[in-house]
Symmetry: C2
Subunit: 685 residues, 2 copies
Amino acid sequence: MPKANRLLWMLLVLTGISRWNDATAAAETVARVESPGKVLAVELSLDEGRIQYAVTRFGEPLIAPSRMGFQLRNAEKLQRGFALVESAVRSHDETWEQPWGEWRFVRDHHNELRARFRETGRARRTLDVVFRVFDDGVGFRYEIPRQDGVDEVIIDDELTEFAIAPKSTAWWIPAGEWNRYEYLYQKTPLVEVGQAHTPMTLRTDDGIYLAFHEAALVDYAGMWLRRVEEQRFRAQLAPASEGWKVRRSTPMQTPWRTIQIADSAAALYASSRLTLNLNEPNALGDVSWFQPAKYVGVWWSLHLDTETWARGPKHGATTSNTRRYIDFAAEHGFRGVLVEGWNPGWDGQWFGNGYDFDFTRPTDDFDLPGLSRYAAERGVHLIGHHETGGAVSHYESQLGAALDLYAKHGVDVVKTGYVADGGQLERRLDDGRIVREWHDGQWMSNHHLRVVQEAAKRHIAINPHEPIKDTGLRRTYPNWVSREGARGMEYAAWGNPPNPPEHEANLFFTRLLAGPMDFTPGIVSLQGRGQPVETTLAKQLALYVVLYSPILMAADLPEHYAAHGDALTFIKAVPADWQDTRVLAGEVGDYVVVARHDRAGDDWYLGAVTDEQGRNMEVALDFLEPGRQYTATIWRDGDAAHWRGDSRFAMQIESRVVDASTRLPLRLAAGGGQAIRFQPLQAER
Amino acid sequence: MPKANRLLWMLLVLTGISRWNDATAAAETVARVESPGKVLAVELSLDEGRIQYAVTRFGEPLIAPSRMGFQLRNAEKLQRGFALVESAVRSHDETWEQPWGEWRFVRDHHNELRARFRETGRARRTLDVVFRVFDDGVGFRYEIPRQDGVDEVIIDDELTEFAIAPKSTAWWIPAGEWNRYEYLYQKTPLVEVGQAHTPMTLRTDDGIYLAFHEAALVDYAGMWLRRVEEQRFRAQLAPASEGWKVRRSTPMQTPWRTIQIADSAAALYASSRLTLNLNEPNALGDVSWFQPAKYVGVWWSLHLDTETWARGPKHGATTSNTRRYIDFAAEHGFRGVLVEGWNPGWDGQWFGNGYDFDFTRPTDDFDLPGLSRYAAERGVHLIGHHETGGAVSHYESQLGAALDLYAKHGVDVVKTGYVADGGQLERRLDDGRIVREWHDGQWMSNHHLRVVQEAAKRHIAINPHEPIKDTGLRRTYPNWVSREGARGMEYAAWGNPPNPPEHEANLFFTRLLAGPMDFTPGIVSLQGRGQPVETTLAKQLALYVVLYSPILMAADLPEHYAAHGDALTFIKAVPADWQDTRVLAGEVGDYVVVARHDRAGDDWYLGAVTDEQGRNMEVALDFLEPGRQYTATIWRDGDAAHWRGDSRFAMQIESRVVDASTRLPLRLAAGGGQAIRFQPLQAER
């Protein structure tokens, strides 16, 4: 081959020219790292200068070689012509304490591979990739160092791919849609996924469970997963109103892209601790001012349409009605009382148009100072509510004053709301123009942190509805205590279709992998607006154990709890903070059995829920302290119980003595559940 | 319900509030139109103020109610709160003549429904939708009139949906990817499509064939089809570098969204005439200066790497080598000689970086004036070549001078090229900044028309490679004669995998529905760069009839044609312009039999190609003039022919006398084909 020609072809190869040769030449492996227990391995390779990663489990391919890189605005694609400059592997093993959570102690045991790549062509830009490999999952991120000519990156697309090797089934909801995260989970072959939110959960045909998600979503756009072809997915970042996806100065790092990997559905839940491990430690210091607790409030009535957010004869947030809730909370030991509709702005067309909201004063019929005092005298705290109607900048303009008002009156938990179509959150630019943002775009990722940080200064906890997804930031900001981000209980009131019996068994293995959810369970009346709630009564109780949140609503009306005292007994007892959590059994979308250890005492609790199939099973109680006897108080489905019809109310309460060697039979009705409290017979030894 | 509350709920309903009630209330039908033969019907409805359309065929649902609208930047979503202001139905039946094409005469017979909607809320914006319903397809577009407060629309997303009702199989390629349109067609269940280019072809389980595409893509972004869930797709416009998808002043209209609908694969091809019918008539007047013709040239050798674009000892575009091609063309009656690599810029790293290209002068070893004269003396025309390497603004800056140069030397067809990754075409802004555009974004839709219009002024025809897709604009600009836009023959030279035997049977029912393709067939040597071409010799001939283009390359080297004189005989005979076209039989991706009537005479030609399956069939020759006898000269696969191995060269030539009543048996080898020329025995009567 003559020299000029050789040079041309060499350049073509170096730049990964593909128009003229799309052959997949053998990629060159450049770095490798294994998990501490040699379960998982990650391999980095270069395919004609393109960085690829691959993941194996016990040597079997899970993620086939998958491309990495960025499409940038005003700069060449950051994907081709790379060579490895250096790589390093580091081991890490530490156990840290959560101020509150599903587990008090979390072990972070991983091996880290850090690799630096540099372009060999003209630009010679540098890109670092970092992989942390646990025995039950992998996290990786990009870091773009500060370097000549790269002061700022404007990311048009993140080119990260996930080429899932084994044939798999997926549980997923569509992303980039008007209804945000509020879709029923679909179970389809993986090849039928379009564009999905994370966490997306998979089961391979060989029975390996994977969940794709991200950790530490800070100053970046949320990642959707778009299927390109067959089982190959591409990161699809939520767009910014400017049209790009992300704008950042260097040095910068992306969120961690995470892949949880387990050999059972039950084990998948615990593997979600890697999301926490990949977040930065607590940045707030002592957060004992936040107390995990249960709450009641003016909420379900609004969805039943027996009360209204708007003022008028049915206004729910009145002084007298709120007193009724405070009295109920005080009588039954609920710390919080949420009141929605307490402030001006609800009387007009507020959906997606929240400019009338005033967050700094109550409506005339709501005596905030008086009610705060009334509550405090009874050991109760009002829970605040900031619905933006999508007018996010409008809310931000009042944020400080709004939080000051609450702080002044002892309100230390605030539920925020972002009711607007996806992509329609209103942001006011400096020049006064209004632009529209996605709930999970870069700007909202920063907005939420602004709110959380402002709240932290005032010792207030935040619980956003219609939120951005949870990526474990509660570790860094422990006052970001819960959120919605899925179809909650209100869909049982008016959803069409309503939440089906499988809904919670889907949520546990998908949405709940991300973190706490303010699902607002406990509808003991089992009745929505003209439609039944599709569960048994016992299942409503089990949800308190299954669907973790440090703020847990008893969502039904006081008068309904009065009519279901047996159920209320369990709701009053169950804690909202845990020492330990064990998933005893489960299958995605079918059923799950969870045991949790009260953080404040020796009790254990068990919650089991099933889908539309009834189930008989036996669970080992080996989580109990060996040699110690416990009274198990059992709230179970009655023998005739079924989620359809009046028999959904059938519930049996019974007790028996058990110990760690007991194998306890569980019988769950169709659409049913079971809740158990285990109390030691003897005092602590 | 108290009045204030009633008002709130009424407003929620009017604004289509969904967070609080996602029930699909019964939509209200507001307009309806049927096709002239009452085969298809389109119904417009309002679902809580959202415009929907639906399509039925003989009363059976094909497109379930599907939403319409726009997500805008700096203005509220244009989707909700609409009421019908007025609607009108109009019938249309005319036959018009193509200057060149598959059919000389095209009938445009449709009923048109025009509906005007206006928002009932604050903004009161107006949106028109127009449907044209043919017996074999539907086209619809939006029109946004000039109106107060809507001088300009910046479209972030077109919200048009396609909810395909019957369970279907799809043939598709991924869209929004780095390799543009150059992917192998996949056949998958429709629910496995991710994001697809159009045309996307479907077969319902009931045997109805659909193709989704668009017509008259002018000053707008190309439409990709993104599957949202199940069989529901959403228009996904190719992004602009500014981040939005489209920016337009009002009044404006979108391209037509088209759905071809037929009850056989064969009939689907003819239904593609609706794309032409939905384009504006010829804007150029007399275009007899463009002559459909065949050509040869310096091309296949470059893909074999026996010659190079770059200068040096293997440079293909030298004066002496070009003379050799001109001599060959003159001897065998080819009008055109394409020469790639004739101009400066090929010696460096030009892929995606075409700034070194000079389009206004040849390299030193290419005597353009002399060769033009040499060609003209022999009745041959050089075909020009403008490879941009993706530097599109750089090309535009030389466009006028470049075309002038060609016009001066009698070059009246120019092949353009846009070799760069998808999303990486370089556009220079007025301030000098370089931004990156998609091949099918709004800016490129305008770029191509600028080139075509500049060329038309000089009576030059344009044939873009790595183009924007064809949407029928050849009707309006008949000098836009062909294009690439799929995997062409060069992938047989070096593709990995190479084009498989089914490739052309896929192309015919997908890419070719859009319009002519410069596939460059006729590789009679059946040999690529270290890999065989996966067809029989007879199939290479059949492609001249099957894959329509008014400029048809005989793509192999002169010396190879010398060694295959029997094959060359057919290639020399077959015309490049047709009076009529009939698809006699076929199945998507399996096989196709096409008959075409020479526009310049009485001959008919038949081309048949199959995939890796050999086939025996019989075709009725009822397209021949009744009562007239024809000599059929048949180039068929030899009895031992097979696409694998040396037997792929086995070809048999024979002749027989036939008439319109003949049923002709066709035997196609595995990966084979057949080409037939029918010549009347008697002179015209």
